[in-house]
């Protein structure tokens, strides 16, 4: 079977409720919408989203729906998706939306300040996403990812385990305008 995958970062600034008068992330927003629209067109009835669950600290503050879920709902709504969005991957699922990003510790003004390990970690993921290198992604160090304030590393690993062989990979965006590494990537996989 063929599976379609879009990986986008769960950036709260993409939510309409946080929009300012000017868009701080116009290029990212364009790429994300392109990827999500592409995915929704290929699996219009049902999509699976994988990403980090709700942050326990936010749950303690009264926000129990994960950021990944809210971003997915918002982006898919913008893309015109009206199908079912589930959070558990079944064997027959053809469309996967991965909410993930690299380190948030890529500079002194980054949310998590600077951690020099961020660059190698992010580069490893970025190249593996571009190359469809599932083996590297399966072996990602989740603990280091957590230290580096990356998001959705578990989701990337689950994707790498279950997606099938990557026959096409398209990188629509890579950048770290606010000290967090963002990627927008689409995959076509066969198994």
């Amino acid at each position: 079977m063929t599976r379609f995958v879009a990986l986008v970062p769960p950036v709260p600034a993409l939510l309409p409720g946080y929009a300012g008068l000017g868009d701080p992330l116009p290029d990212l927003r364009k790429a994300v919408l392109e990827a999500v629209t592409w995915l929704a067109e290929r699996s219009p009835a049902r999509l699976v989203m994988l990403g980090d669950g709700p942050d326990p600290a936010n749950v303690a503050r009264g926000v129990s729906v994960s950021l990944a879920r809210r971003i997915a709902d918002s982006l898919l709504g913008e893309a015109g998706f009206t199908g079912e969005l589930v959070e558990t991957l079944d064997e027959g699922d053809a469309g996967l939306l991965i909410l993930a990003n690299g380190s948030a510790r890529r500079g002194e003004r980054a949310p998590g300040h600077l951690d020099d390990r961020a660059f190698a970690y992010d580069a490893l993921i970025e190249h593996a996403l571009a190359d469809g290198d599932r083996q590297t992604l399966r072996g990602l160090d989740s603990e280091l990812g957590s230290d580096l304030m990356a998001s959705g590393i578990g989701a990337i690993k689950q994707l790498a385990t279950s997606a099938g062989d990557v026959v096409d990979s398209t990188a629509l965006y890579a950048g770290d305008p606010f000290g967090v590494r963002y990627w927008v990537v689409t995959w076509e996989c066969v198994s």
Partner: protein, 287 residues
């Protein structure tokens, strides 16, 4: 409500800066700085650069002084309005006058707003606004004669009086044919009022907003600020901006000011606090 100020139309969430441009040798704040026409023109250039959507041209200072008849008032403002109209086809031009004959002359040259700062003293001014499809600012003065200082003026309830007076003028203007989108009401701080009255109006401005008529405030460097803070003219900006912030929180739409840039910052900030304007951009904690 959408505002239609002559050739300018503004959405119902827009706040507007009305910059004061005096064509007088003796106004209290600038003391004749723009008495020379070229200086006044330079002032317009500056305030437009600073983001003013409206300029308010005045030919007579508000305080008592040498009598300025209609002929002299026209001489001071009509040609200047014509020059501005030609130089700034889009700018909203307001003229601060109580006289219908002056209003007619400036509207014929393209003025968009008649700022009736003396509260309908000349009832024919509203008819001129209707005739030229101009906007009208309806102000509260407590019925005093133009260019008089308040002396022992008292109100049972100054806010109620301001509402009855300005809404009455607004409704009359509409009945005479002024577009309802082209009427503003102004409590007119200091006019026919002591400092206590102006403070009360500022505190309770929400009651004027609640009438539904868009509210203009003219707070800039006025005596109620000076008396409250014991500061002379020239040192009242902070107090003016504090009063401006309160007016903005209540929802005033138009701010008649000397200092455009500072007022714009305060109003934008307060408008955002009130949830009526989004931040310019927001990524803190959201990356």
């Amino acid at each position: 409500m959408t505002l239609k100020l002559g050739r300018g139309e503004f959405a119902d969430d827009a706040t507007l800066m009305m910059a004061i441009v005096n064509r007088t040798p003796d106004s209290f704040y600038d003391k004749g700085a723009t008495w020379a026409e070229d200086k006044a023109f330079d002032r317009v250039d500056q305030v437009v650069d600073e983001g003013a959507q409206i300029v308010d041209i005045g030919g007579i200072k508000a305080a008592p002084g040498a009598e300025i008849d209609a002929t002299e008032e026209r001489r001071r403002v009509v040609g200047f309005v014509a020059r501005l109209r030609s130089a700034y086809p889009e700018l909203v031009i307001s003229v601060d006058t109580w006289r219908a004959e002056v209003g007619r002359a400036v509207c014929a040259e393209g003025a968009d707003v008649l700022n009736d700062a003396w509260g309908g003293f000349d009832p024919a001014l509203a008819e001129v606004a209707a005739e030229y499809d101009a906007a009208l600012v309806c102000t509260h003065t407590g019925g005093v004669t133009p260019r008089t200082r308040p002396h022992r003026v008292e109100y049972a309830d100054v806010v109620a009086d301001a509402i009855v007076s300005t809404v009455g003028q607004a409704e009359r203007a509409v009945s005479l044919g002024v577009d309802p989108r082209s009427v503003l009401i102004d409590p007119a701080h200091d006019f026919g009022k002591n400092t206590w009255h102006s403070l009360e109006l500022t505190k309770r401005l929400g009651e004027m907003i609640a009438t539904g008529w868009p509210v203009l405030v003219s707070l800039s460097n006025k005596d109620f600020v000076g008396e409250t803070l014991d500061l002379p003219v020239g040192e009242r900006l902070t107090g003016t901006l504090a009063a401006t912030a309160v007016a903005a929180l209540h929802g005033a739409r138009v701010y008649r000011v000397h200092e455009v840039a500072q007022t714009r910052e305060v109003v934008d900030m307060v408008w955002s606090i009130a949830g009526r304007r989004r931040p310019a951009h927001a990524v803190r904690g959201l990356a």
